[in-house]
């Protein structure tokens, strides 16, 4: 008995959208953030959405993307590891539009949507500094996954954000060496705590979960969330989150696509102004005037009055 297996062939005649992730959904992070887009795509645009999971098996990327190209008009691709496979598949499937989310891709066919990392991390740094100042800490922590340009970029934005709010505060940066090791992330967070940090921001994927875990199990460190609202990971400890609106980016681009406004090879860039980033504050943990200050700072950032780049 049981359910019959679904069919691979699409039945709907409307817009067909594929979302490919290089690992898999259910990460409570970046990929799930993209998954939120499925619902509005189907209800607002009447699109049929299919998802593809690469499971970090590099050899499967190209075949799966090919499957995606065969079945869809528009395919969003998430995850750095799939860039090569995507450019290749995009090149030979010109009737399908590929969009790479979260990064710049040089390809005449595929589009890319980049998040201005430094800008987002700037606000995370501002929040971390504000929280640290209120806890009279002299330093704040930055946990990086691996030593990659995006992460360095983020660290720069973060540091700029911190020094904008609390010029004397030191930033303790530490790299986990992996995006998938929460127990190491936790140890790093605890290590930063002993070195005097009272707030921490982890740009480290799953490893970052360790920092929330440390906070949840009694550490006095306040972790700033990233990508999604992370307050559930350490209830009552997360002062706020820097949310990456992958869903909004996807839906807006899908809308542009159905309006015929997407150009192959186009490169778009998202920040607070374009709804790519969004800050969420926990008003129980952050005083209202602090929130106001931070919102004002964000406005300045958007207007270009302050630069997110490190000095």
């Amino acid at each position: 008995g049981g359910q019959a297996p679904a069919s691979t062939a699409a039945t709907n005649s409307g817009l067909k959208v594929g979302i490919f992730v290089d690992n898999a959904f259910g990460d409570g992070d970046f990929f799930d953030q993209a998954g939120i887009a499925v619902e509005p795509l189907e209800s607002d645009l009447g699109a049929t959405v299919k998802t593809y999971e690469g499971q970090l098996q590099a050899q499967n990327f190209a075949p799966l993307l090919q499957d995606a190209a065969d079945a869809n008009d528009l395919v969003f691709v998430l995850g750095f590891e799939a860039i090569d496979a995507m450019t290749e598949v995009a090149d030979r499937n010109k009737d399908t539009t590929f969009v790479f989310v979260d990064g710049k891709v040089d390809s005449p066919e595929a589009l890319s949507a980049e998040f201005r990392t430094a800008e987002g991390c700037f606000m995370a740094g501002a929040l971390a500094a504000a929280v640290g100042e209120d806890a009279s800490a002299v330093s704040t922590g930055f946990i990086g996954g691996v030593n990659a340009p995006v992460v360095k970029n983020c660290e720069g934005g973060f540091t700029a954000g911190v020094s904008n709010v609390a010029p004397d505060m030191k930033v303790l940066a530490q790299y986990v060496g992996s995006f998938t090791d929460p127990s190491k992330g936790r140890e790093v967070a605890l290590g930063l705590e002993t070195r005097g940090a009272r707030s921490v921001f982890a740009y480290a994927g799953l490893s970052g979960a360790g920092a929330f875990d440390a906070a949840k199990s009694g550490s006095s460190i306040a972790p700033v969330g990233i990508v999604a609202d992370k307050s559930a990971l350490a209830p009552g400890k997360v002062p706020g989150s820097l949310i990456m609106r992958v869903d909004k980016v996807i839906t807006s681009m899908a809308k542009d696509f159905s309006d015929g406004k997407l150009k192959h090879g186009e490169q778009r860039s998202y920040g607070f102004a374009e709804d790519g980033w969004e800050m969420l504050y926990d008003d129980k943990l952050v005083p209202a005037e602090r929130v106001k200050e931070l919102e004002a700072l964000q406005a300045k950032l958007v207007s270009g009055a302050v630069s997110p780049d490190a000095k």
Binding site: A24, F25, G26, D27, Q174, S178, T180, D181, S217
Partner: protein, 295 residues
């Protein structure tokens, strides 16, 4: 200390299987299942104590099955161990996805964490305090097991029979002992302790489960077991050394050493130790009971 506990527990788990010459190389898998069990049982029953108890029970059951496979059905213990590692990696992901629909990490507010306890007097001592105090029950349990094991090696009939079952099974059988029971018992112990080690990882240190969260710890413990050649104190020492090496690896700053190189430390120490061991002991390195490909 935090990093030592799972290594120590896993190494203690493996010790009797070394005595019976059925060295279980599936520690990694056993721990992974333990970690998963801790989180799942914790989530369903909401209590850390229930989680640990049930995980141990599951460990005992798996140990029985494993023991049955390697004794009654003559499955080579090395093959079984390797398969266990791979199976655990796959099965936990499978269950994670099919039960909870998540990939990577299972982290939910409902997962209980084991409370930590401070030892009244020691807690106050400057340097020792933070090292020796403020741990979960499981950490203290691991120390207790070390003490019990040292005592048991000297004074119990059981350990003698376990060792005899490995060193000269025929002698034990001829003397009326039960070799198979000893071999199964060693595996049951191994799985039960691996379960505890895993639970310490997932609900002792953290309150979440990640795919492959054991991350080679089981193999490090295995190396410790091979170095100690059956001696408990040495085993404890090795586990502490490996624990320290991992701790250093985490805290070392990027500017001093890239994290990947730092992470190599425990493995490098184990590797060099292995060579030193083979060079310094008379009968060379210990052979793991690898299967005969003809069988």
């Amino acid at each position: 200390m935090r990093l030592t506990t799972p290594i120590l527990l896993a190494a203690l788990a493996c010790l009797p299987t070394q005595w019976t010459k059925d060295l279980n190389v599936g520690l990694e898998g056993g721990m992974l299942f333990g970690a998963f069990g801790g989180v799942v049982f914790g989530l369903t029953f909401g209590s850390g104590f229930a989680a640990v108890t049930l995980t141990i029970a599951a460990g005992v059951l798996s140990g029985l099955i494993f023991g049955w496979l390697i004794t009654r059905l003559n499955v080579n213990v090395f093959i079984a161990g390797i398969v266990l590692n791979i199976f655990a990696g796959a099965a936990t992901v499978y269950l994670l996805r099919s039960l909870f629909g998540v990939k990577g990490t299972l982290s939910a507010p409902g997962i209980p964490s084991l409370p930590t306890y401070r030892i009244p007097f020691i807690d106050g001592i400057p340097v020792l305090g933070p090292i020796l105090s403020g741990h979960t029950v499981l950490t203290y349990l691991s120390w207790a097991i070390v003490a019990v094991a040292i005592f048991a090696v000297k004074n119990t009939v059981l350990v003698r029979h376990l060792k005899a079952a490995g060193e000269h099974p025929a002698a034990l059988a001829a003397a009326g002992g039960n070799v198979q029971r000893m071999r199964i018992l060693a595996q049951v112990w191994c799985f039960a302790l691996c379960a505890i080690a895993g639970a310490q990882l997932s609900i002792g240190q953290l309150t979440l489960f990640t795919e492959g969260m054991t991350n080679g710890l089981g193999f490090v413990a295995l190396a410790a077991v091979i170095f100690c050649r059956g001696r408990v104190l040495l085993l404890t020492l090795m586990s502490v050394v490996f624990g320290l090496a991992s701790a250093v690896a985490i805290q070392v700053n990027d500017s001093v050493m890239p994290p990947q190189i730092a992470q190599m430390l425990p493995y490098l120490i184990a590797f060099v130790g292995l060579i030193v061991l083979a060079r310094t002991t008379k009968d060379g390195g210990v052979r793991i009971a690898t299967p005969n490909m003809e069988s």
